[in-house]
Subunit: 316 residues, 4 copies
Amino acid sequence: MLDLAVEAHDLARARTGKEIPGVRVEKEEHPYALVTTVQVETEEAERLMQKPKGTYITIESSALLENNRQIHQELIKLLGEKLSLLLKDLPETASALIVGLGNWHATPDALGPRTVDYTLVTRHLFHYAPQELRGGLREVSALAPGVLGTTGIETAEIIRGVVEKIKPDVVITIDALAARSVARIATSIQLADTGISPGSGIGNDRAGINRETMGVPVIAVGVPTVVHAAFIAQDAMERLWQELNQHPRLREVYKYLHPELVQRVIDQLLAPFGGRLMVTPKEIDTLVQNTARILAGGLAVALHPGMNPEEAYLYL
Amino acid sequence: MLDLAVEAHDLARARTGKEIPGVRVEKEEHPYALVTTVQVETEEAERLMQKPKGTYITIESSALLENNRQIHQELIKLLGEKLSLLLKDLPETASALIVGLGNWHATPDALGPRTVDYTLVTRHLFHYAPQELRGGLREVSALAPGVLGTTGIETAEIIRGVVEKIKPDVVITIDALAARSVARIATSIQLADTGISPGSGIGNDRAGINRETMGVPVIAVGVPTVVHAAFIAQDAMERLWQELNQHPRLREVYKYLHPELVQRVIDQLLAPFGGRLMVTPKEIDTLVQNTARILAGGLAVALHPGMNPEEAYLYL
Amino acid sequence: MLDLAVEAHDLARARTGKEIPGVRVEKEEHPYALVTTVQVETEEAERLMQKPKGTYITIESSALLENNRQIHQELIKLLGEKLSLLLKDLPETASALIVGLGNWHATPDALGPRTVDYTLVTRHLFHYAPQELRGGLREVSALAPGVLGTTGIETAEIIRGVVEKIKPDVVITIDALAARSVARIATSIQLADTGISPGSGIGNDRAGINRETMGVPVIAVGVPTVVHAAFIAQDAMERLWQELNQHPRLREVYKYLHPELVQRVIDQLLAPFGGRLMVTPKEIDTLVQNTARILAGGLAVALHPGMNPEEAYLYL
Amino acid sequence: MLDLAVEAHDLARARTGKEIPGVRVEKEEHPYALVTTVQVETEEAERLMQKPKGTYITIESSALLENNRQIHQELIKLLGEKLSLLLKDLPETASALIVGLGNWHATPDALGPRTVDYTLVTRHLFHYAPQELRGGLREVSALAPGVLGTTGIETAEIIRGVVEKIKPDVVITIDALAARSVARIATSIQLADTGISPGSGIGNDRAGINRETMGVPVIAVGVPTVVHAAFIAQDAMERLWQELNQHPRLREVYKYLHPELVQRVIDQLLAPFGGRLMVTPKEIDTLVQNTARILAGGLAVALHPGMNPEEAYLYL
């Protein structure tokens, strides 16, 4: 299962050799970003894409890789607008719980907890203040629940427990994702109104965190920070195969690249770590930190109607 | 309100000038430690001590300040025994939720989260394993919920939400405390079967975390890591007063040290930070780290009947 | 010995009961800051102040305590200007080595290393580039040498070794200071063209880092992050004494507050940690982080003629 | 150029199809480890292996991946013995400077600085103490100089500057290495009396740190923590090729796997990050921490004749 809907869509088309019925795709160009909205509308589309029905907005920008604060401010504004689209059915006074998924101690998986660190929480400040005094701020709380390996508790259970106590109108999860392609690392932000499916994210051990399990809408925000090493090996072999395959004699001999052969090579290459091997750029620490600030900025703009992007940025 | 029962007891006796009825105190000497058990048994005692009824065990050892692993191992054993006393009414198969209170990003307040980091969690490992395969391990989970200022949620609410989901048989909180006396910093471990009272701990913003709010027994483990700066100022003035007061002429003039005067001096001295000023030793980072390991070791020994102190230490 | 010249000046005047000859003081008001320039001009002044001859510029602003980026930008500009004053004798192409003194692992002492983290270093980038391509940037390198307790080497020795290799035109040290008064914590930035005197800073174990030991000018930038706990106790007693002393009978009995008595009380109060006890606000982590960014910003503006404060801020 | 001599040796044999003249290899089995000593003795061997003349001792143990302190203690002992071999020409009173290379903020590259953190430094303690009072301890200092990108200074320059000041009898560098094979990650410790060659280590930007540049013997200790992603892709293609190549028709068509083709596929796969992509296991944080403690333990045992492995372990 792929974390990014745009990659899942490409893969499904490549596998079936045709457009996927029940999927609508729109693209929008912005000065520093390309926004792709993928809508999975039918159960057939769901099955072919292996992504639940819903809206997936991907903001792609190589500017996320650069340390340019002026462009970052533009991206915060764009991110705030797109998040607002997914939140548009909520009342003006709706409260939000932001959940930073992932492991503080593993840099590429720390995006969620770091974003929580930069998040402006307000719930405790005006818990008892009358609505008219809240000055354009919504009630926002935030939680970094840790990961199964260090808590012994399914993350979904912790969140559900807290949701039942504080009853937010929406849950927004922040998660580091695994991409299929290296070019996606730290260059794509995906927003989805589907919440989190079981088994997604770097940790792979998530139970579902979505409207069914939480009882309120769940917006999932994710940014790829790694690619599984196995994909690098698999892609290398597939690309080699395509090159070799241009020769007619080879095509005679081998009809196709045997998946068992590919898997055997991958298993040999990646032992003894197997699926726990990740590919990530050297500068991942800086990339995660910059991205966490941009996400926190976009959340502030989307959640607090009285806050403009310049202000949001000044407080990061 | 004082966090340590032994200090609250001393203060109550000093204030009233006599023994406190309804309080029982026992002392036990160990090679590297003095153990004091204070039992608050009546409502009058509760009021005079400003500590809820219950048992408070304090392990005092200056060896906590030293980096001597052999003595640390002895302290883990002793801590394990004393914790077991407070857990003795629980069935052998009881499950425990360990909660690390406090703020990761403020060194003296990070004791709880750091202890969680060193904690051996097992709940996810044998969640589906039959009892006979669990090999002397109990079901342990752990949580570091953060602090009100960064989550916007009362810590007690988060914990209660999780407790209702995973239904542990006991909650064990770990917290950094504020002491009255500098000599207590990183030299005393307090275990209490009363849970956490509102307003205790360094953060001062805790709602109660106890049997009433959680529905299960709550054991509170705490170690002082700071003294409020105001106490240093107050004690300095009181000691000076006692010295001066030995002269009869002074006693004629001033009957007593006016509390308003003391407070005025403290307010002037500590502005603009006031109650947020803490006194802590330079080496607090190392002290918190060593103490967190000892607490995690004691917890492992007390919770897992099949684990001896040497083993516990080997895995820290 | 006091780290801040403005405090040393106040103390010298209080001790001697008159103005200090050979010291010139100028004050300048700015929208968010008060700038005091203390010039120690004679050897007598040096002795009375216990500060070496030279210029000490202190920028005081309570805005350092607030998380307001617009004012922070103003402070960066002001800091850049004042630093430039101290650097004015250097040629336009001068190179600088920034040295972050202090201990990464002790929050209040981490100001220097954190500032180095935010510092824009350029030396490796245009080491071989011709002058005309350097675009308004000076050659800047940075080092966080650690502390004696973790390296076993005098910090001054490490720096001198590096200075002899890379031959910068100026060394700029960044250090966390100890103040005499709590009100100075994280509200004063001191710039001095005297370098660092032996025994200053939180760590107290510095050998001198100055023009004599380094062979090039040394600018010392410092911000108080702690007050020694002993000062809190001493000030409390002195203030109490002043209050009591208003009564004539007391004056008859005690001529003055005995220093031995004060010391005895302090020793009792602070055992077993003594001089290693520091007073610091709970939010010191955030204060150090904000201050480090402002210092790095001011350094960038002062060192790189082509960089304006807005740009400097965008890259922090 | 490969960081590990054992891998360079395998590669050289594979390339030339025969044993490498001038290289001597010895293997020794230990209960939990295999020790391979590679001696590069001639200039021809140097050229074929692309490793400078000298002795390379590799301790391989999958126990490094496990959290078993009893076995770690055995490895500390073994590491201490092997390090002592390389130090055997030094006088009993020789002093050592331990240098932790790499970047604190990039987990897989933080092995050096973390080892320095665990290192027992003594130089400042008995700098003035007579030899007979030093109780079996040697004079040890330690430095974590940072990386070129954050200091602007070649690491070798910083070290040389410090070496000239404190004049140690030996420099011991600790560095995270890049392996050719995933199976080497965190399972091999290499000790070499050759120091560090230019361009080795994860950072790839090191100038040489060796007897020529430092004027004293340099022992290099390294542990692989990453594999370049390009090797995963290359190996996948080579293994696929070997499988396909068993068919005679393929051999007719393609004589060999074109290096240009392999490089083209790698370049496409790894854009836009290229050589900055690293493969590392998810649990790298824990692996680096455990390994740093083992290295610091082995260093303590080798450097301090009065310290046995049990003691060394107790103080980590």
